[in-house]
Each structure stands twice: as C-alpha cells, then as structure tokens.
C-alpha cells in the first residue's frame, strides 16, 4: 500500500507531445479513475506509472520512491489489461502463481495465496483450466486474481471491463470496487465509460487531449465542472450549452430568460451557459417546441428547440409525457446554471 504521486508528468513520442504535464496525488487506499475520450492519453499515463512507457518529463513516486528509472518489476504494482493478457500456455493456477514464483516464495505460501484469491473470485473450479477454456468474465477474474495474489503497492486497471457485455460489466464493476475496499490498495483505473467512472471513483481525473482538466470527487466534478469539456463529458444525457454575451447590466440574456451571474462579469464577454437536462423543469421562462420524446420508463427525455434555433434536452420524471409538436415552457432554479468562458472553456461560476 502506498501513495502514488504524479508531478508535472509529460510524455512525447518523437517530439509529438501527448501528455502535457499532469500532476496529482493519489492517497493511500484511494480509488482514482482516469476518464476521458479515446486518444486523450489515459493509457499512456497509466503505463508510465506501470513502467511500460518511459517518462519524458516530470516525476512519478510510488510510496516514498521515485520510480522514473525503475523497471516495471521493481515498482511493485499489478496491472489488469483490457484484453486480460493471461499467459495462454499456463493454467489458471500457474497464471496466478507466476509472479509469486519469480519472487521466490515457497510452494506452500504460493498455494495459500492462490487458493485464497481463487476463493474470493470464485475461481476454484477452474484452477486447472487453460485461459482459452474460460469465458470472458472468468478470464477477467483470473486477471484480477493475478493482480491480488501479488499484494502489490498499487493496482492499475486499463479498461478491464470493456470486453464484457453490459450486464457482466455492471456486476464486475461492483465486485472490483468491493474487492478494492476490502484490500484497501491504492488503485488507478482507466475507463472511457463515465458511468463506470462516476460509480467507482473516490477521485476522478478527467482528461482531455493530454491535460487533466478536472481532478476531484465525482460529486464535485458533476456539480462544479472546471471546464466546458468536463461539463459536457460527465453526465448523461450531456449538459445543454447555450452561447450568449454578458449584457451591459451584467446579466445574461437567453431566449426568454434572464440570468444573473453570481459573480460580476465584464459586459460584452462571450459566455457559454450550461444547464443539465435533469435541472430543467416545466413552467417558466424558456419556451421550447418539442421535437422528439424518448420514454425510458423511469424518466422521459424531451428533445426540444428554442425559438432562436438552439436545441435543449430535458429530463422529466416518467409520468410527464408531452407530445412532439407541443410547446412547452421550461425553467431551472437559480444556481443550476453553469457559466463558462466561451473562448478558454474555463468555469466562471453559476447563475
């Protein structure tokens, strides 16, 4: 168990920089989730922690050791890969025992650990099988088992659930989280699935194009997204954005609504106003034309258009079902509106 810290970590591939200085401290026993769109550098960052990619700049420490120049084998971390990366020619038992044998443990010790992990992960009946004789979910468990028998300082996960079907994914998500709680091992988990990220993380690291745009608890990221990108990425359906300018009196004029920013903004500044679909409710200032209604059972998504042409998504409780073509007034409470600088994407507070 150990703290993992990144200090201004950078990576470039032959002059092409893909990680632009990420800093964060992951506390002992914390479950940090790196989330972001494809190609934003999540895997690269994780692999630098593992020692599979060289660190071009900055510093990574695990526990109290700077690991920049350590081989993967000396970092004492375990990793679960997206394709599981099981040793195809070894039995499940040997897959789990491999790392322990290298560490020179006695047969008896190895057996105790492997049996214990197998019991935890319900792999008992499969110990003699080869990986190719297992289902995807079972392989995933073996990969987990291989990580936990090692009792490493940190677990690293690179999209470990993305090869599973939706139902299994939810189930494994819960199990991984429970297991991590029980073992209390510092973990870094990479995913592009924001639901996975929100539900599993103690701390979220939202990345975009090689920059960690927001680091915080899931609630924090949801409630006060640091940038336009984070606001649009976290939350489903995504936040609605409306572009406007600060009026001469400091207020924001929308199509039929007037917002007063909590903090003073210079008149004329270009501002993007964000509002989450679930924070909009019927009645009030904004008048929309309903274009499409999606019934999800528990709630209903209404896709509408304002008279100025901007579209809005509204999430209503399942019982309220407007028809397409209807006109519908909507409003949101003060404080629910997020304001961002249109040019820089930086958060400017609420209204």
């Amino acid at each position: 168990m150990a703290e993992v810290t990144l200090k201004d970590v950078r990576k470039d591939y032959a002059g092409n920089q893909v990680i632009h200085g990420v800093s964060c401290a992951i506390a002992d026993g914390e479950f940090a989730v790196i989330v972001g769109p494809s190609g934003c550098g999540k895997s690269t960052l994780l692999r630098m922690v593992a020692g599979l990619e060289e660190i071009s700049g900055g510093e990574i420490t695990i526990g109290d050791r700077v690991v920049n120049d350590l081989e993967p084998k000396d970092r004492d971390v375990a990793m679960v890969f997206q394709n599981y990366a099981l040793y195809p020619h070894m039995s499940v038992y040997d897959n789990m025992a491999y790392g322990l044998r290298i560490r020179g443990m006695t047969k008896a010790e190895i057996d105790v650990r492997v049996q214990k992990a197998a019991a935890t992960l319900e792999l008992g009946p499969f110990l003699d099988r080869q990986p190719r004789q297992l289902s995807g979910g079972q392989r995933q468990r073996v990969a987990m088992g291989r990580a936990i028998v090692r009792e490493p300082k940190a677990f690293l996960f690179d999209e470990p659930l993305s090869n599973l079907d939706a139902k299994l994914r939810v189930q494994m998500r819960v199990e991984i989280k429970k297991l991590q709680r029980a073992l209390d091992v510092t973990s870094i988990y990479v995913t592009h699935d924001q639901v996975e990220a929100m539900t599993m993380a103690d701390r979220l690291i939202v990345m975009n194009k090689g920059v960690a745009e927001h680091i915080g608890t899931p609630i924090d990221v949801y409630a006060e997204p640091a940038t336009l990108f984070v606001a649009g990425f976290i939350g489903s359906p995504a936040m609605n954005f409306l572009e406007t300018r600060v009026g001469s009196d400091g207020a924001l004029e929308l199509d039929g609504a007037r917002l007063t920013p909590k903090t003073r903004l210079d008149p004329g500044r270009a501002v993007t106003v964000g509002i989450r679909p679930e924070h909009l409710a019927p009645g009030g200032g904004l008048d929309i034309q309903v274009e499409l209604v999606e019934l999800l059972g528990a709630d209903t998504l209404v896709y509408g258009r304002l008279s100025d042409g901007n579209s809005l998504v509204i999430r209503l409780p399942g019982t309220q079902v407007p028809k397409s073509g209807d006109r519908m007034p909507v409003h949101a409470n003060a404080g629910a509106w997020h304001l961002f600088d249109t040019e820089t994407g930086k958060r400017l507070g609420t209204a």
């Binding site: 993967p72 375990a78 997206q82 990366a85 040793y87 020619h89 290298i102």
Partner: protein, 292 residues
Amino acid sequence: MQKVGFKGRFFPYVLIAPQILITLVFFYWPASQAVWQSFLIQDAFGTRVEFVWFENYETLFSDPLYFNALVVTVVFSTTVAALSLGFALLLAVMADRQIRGARAYKTFLIWPYAVAPAVAGVLWLFMFQPSLGIVAQQLKRMGVDWNYLLDGRQAMTLVILASAWKQISYNFLFFLAGLQSIPRSVIEAAAIDGAGPGRRFWTIVFPLLSPTAFFLLVVNIVYVFFDTFGIIDAVTLGGPAKATETLVYKVYSDGRLGGDLGGSAAQSVILMAIVITLTAVQFKYVERKVHY
C-alpha cells in the same frame, strides 16, 4: 461456418482435378517407380533386370558406407538445424525489439533464401577456396591450415555453414511472424509480474513460439535431407573420402554415378519413409500444441 453445396456431384472433382493430376504425375508416379525399382537388380550393361524382393535393402543395411552416410546425415542435419534455428531466433528477437527499420532489415535477411542452393554453394566455394578464397587466405594468415579438399572435418564445417546460412532467412521470417503474433500485453504482464528480459523469453515467449519452432525444425530437417544436395554437389562432391556424403547425396552418387539403380531406389524409398514419418509427427504435435 455455412456449408455451400455444389449442384452436380461431378463439378467439385473437376475443380480439384489439376491438383490431383499434378500430385499423381509428380509425386505418386515417381514414388511408385522408386518402390518398384528398389525391388530390381540391373546388370552393369543395363541389359538384364531381375526381380529380387528385398535384396537391395539387405545389401544396403550391411553396407558400412551406407551407415557412414547415415551418421554424416545425422551430424549434418542436427548441426545445420541447430545453427540456422538458433541464429534465426536470435535475429528475430532482435528485429522484434527494434521494429523500426525492420523492413530494410528483413529484406536484407531474406536474400540468402532467394539464392539457389548451388549458387550458395559456389558463393561459399569462392570465399573458402583453399588457394584463392578471401576467407581461406585470412584463415591461413591466422595460422589455420585450411584445406577442406583434404580435411573431412573442414569440408563438413563448410557445407554446414553454407547450408545453415541459406536457411536462416526462412527461419527468421517464421520466427519473426511468430514473435509478432504474441500479444505485447502478455509480455508486459510478465514484466509487471517481476520477470526480467531473460525470464520473459524462456517462460513466456519461447513456450508460445514452440509450435513455430517445432514446425521449423521439421521443415529444416527435410531441407537438410534434400535441398542441401546442391550445396554439397557444388562444394565437396560428397568428399573428401565421403566425409560429407549425406543420404541424399549417396542416392545420387550410387544411382547416377555408380549405376546402381536398384540400390539407389531403395535408399530413396527409405528417405521417403523418413520424411513422411517426420511430417506425420509434426502434424500430430502441432495440432496438439497450438495455443489460443
């Protein structure tokens, strides 16, 4: 997979007919000829032919020269196979690591394979020719008494090197393909599990490569059995004192040069049996041992 049917029963046979015809004309027919020949003895002038059952085989097995050829073949083939497989694997591992610039490297390495055996032989002959060859002169300068035309051991070394050199590129390509089919993440997982480069190679890479290695072993042995004929013929003619006379070369020298068609045919039949056995073993093994 979905099965697709043909309309008539006749049509599929038409489609495979050329294949069957070629196999019949170029394999079964000469093979049966050889088997038939091996039961015959022909006199020196080719005027009388006698059917003698297994007499040719009996003569063969009591002939110390045949035994010599067998030993030569075993030494020759195991050394060539070991050398060419070992070097090819080493090169492939190096190429696999440094895959940038690999194309130039691969082309460079594939050249030897494109060279005909006899040409390869001549090439090596030029380099090692006792009085004129570049390498031979170097060796002499270094104090080695180099004359493979007189020294059987040197002759053997030379044909082994030439044959191994020629086979390396073929093996290299297979090994490289085999290495590249091993998922990177598996090797990375081993690295994180604590294995250094050496251990990763012997416990992960090599076992996963073993079907390829075994396949190549068989292919190489078959190669050494037959295809090295050109090299031996060009470099040593089986000499000196039959030190480099392999089974295949003996078939040729007995039949073609010595005129003993029956004995030579018997030898071919034995060779054929060996190769068929090897191939059968290989198929069985590879089928059993394939991972994924």
